[in-house]
């Protein structure tokens, strides 16, 4: 009787014959299952806090890393945005009208006012 013969389409029969495979393995040492509960009980950590407090601690520990990470990411993002905006439009040491316009280039009113005041329409600096 070959192994494939046993496997092939004889699932029920094979299960009956081969599903108990414990005898195949070397048995655990004598008395292993008698001793294991004591070994496990000795290794159990003590419950240090009341259960309700423990649950709160567990919940707090579960959420804290995510909250701290989000706050850190938000701070990093804010600092980067601040830095990039200030490096794009550095504040000049001595202000001229053009500096004022360039620095506040998003201020449409100021820009339009300056453009309107120029007769020759030179806007190359823009």
């Amino acid at each position: 009787m070959t192994a494939s013969h046993n496997m092939n389409h004889q699932h029920g029969k094979m299960k009956k014959q081969y599903s108990d495979d414990r005898s195949l393995f070397k048995a655990p040492p004598a008395g292993y299952f008698e001793d294991l509960p004591d070994v496990v009980m000795q290794r159990l950590p003590r419950r240090s806090v009341k259960r309700e407090e423990g649950r709160r601690t567990v919940a707090w520990r579960r959420w804290a890393p995510a909250v701290v990470t989000l706050v850190l990411l938000a701070v990093i993002w804010w600092v980067r945005v601040r830095r990039s905006s200030s490096s794009l439009h550095p504040v000049p040491q001595e202000w001229t009208v053009e500096d004022e316009i360039l620095y506040n280039w998003e201020d449409d009113d100021l820009l339009m006012e300056e453009l309107a005041s120029r007769d020759d329409g030179e806007t190359s600096y823009l």
Partner: protein
Amino acid sequence: MSMPMRRQTVVEMPPEDADLLRRLQDPASERMAFRELVKRYQERLYWVIRRLVHSHEDTNDLLQEVFIKVWKGLPSFNGRSALYTWMYRIAVNEALSFLRRDKWRSLMRLEDPSKVMAHRLQASIETDGDEILQRLHAALLQLSPQQRAVFTLRYFEDMPFKEVAAVMGKTESTVKVHYHLARKKIEEILTET
């Protein structure tokens, strides 16, 4: 004083497990009840792990870790699965994590993980054991750890697919596919040899 159940149990569990769970949730009786839990499930969990990792020493380490995790997890056990399903799940996850770590350790030592596993299987079985069983276990080594776990739970533990799915954290249809593929592959391997 007995503590109330934190949440309503949402799955039917054997009456003896429900009683054990009630005592586990009472600080006055939890250690005694836990010892009972270890006695009740140690052998079943031992063999689930042993079939996956083979060596008794590794199985012993993992089994102790499983029970410690069960103890730590009991306060947050929500009863959404039966107690034994939850413990099987922890046991299978521990075994699968061990196999992943073991594979990496073998690769770091520039060894072939499949040869290491085959050698460990040979060292863990009786030399005069049933030949077909030996070949079946050797064939199981060629499956993915997930497929081996599904096959072990279904075939050796005789677990219904619904429970296998709960233990593996997958859908019933997924574990059926895993099992079908595992059987097919084993058939092919055994036919070749």
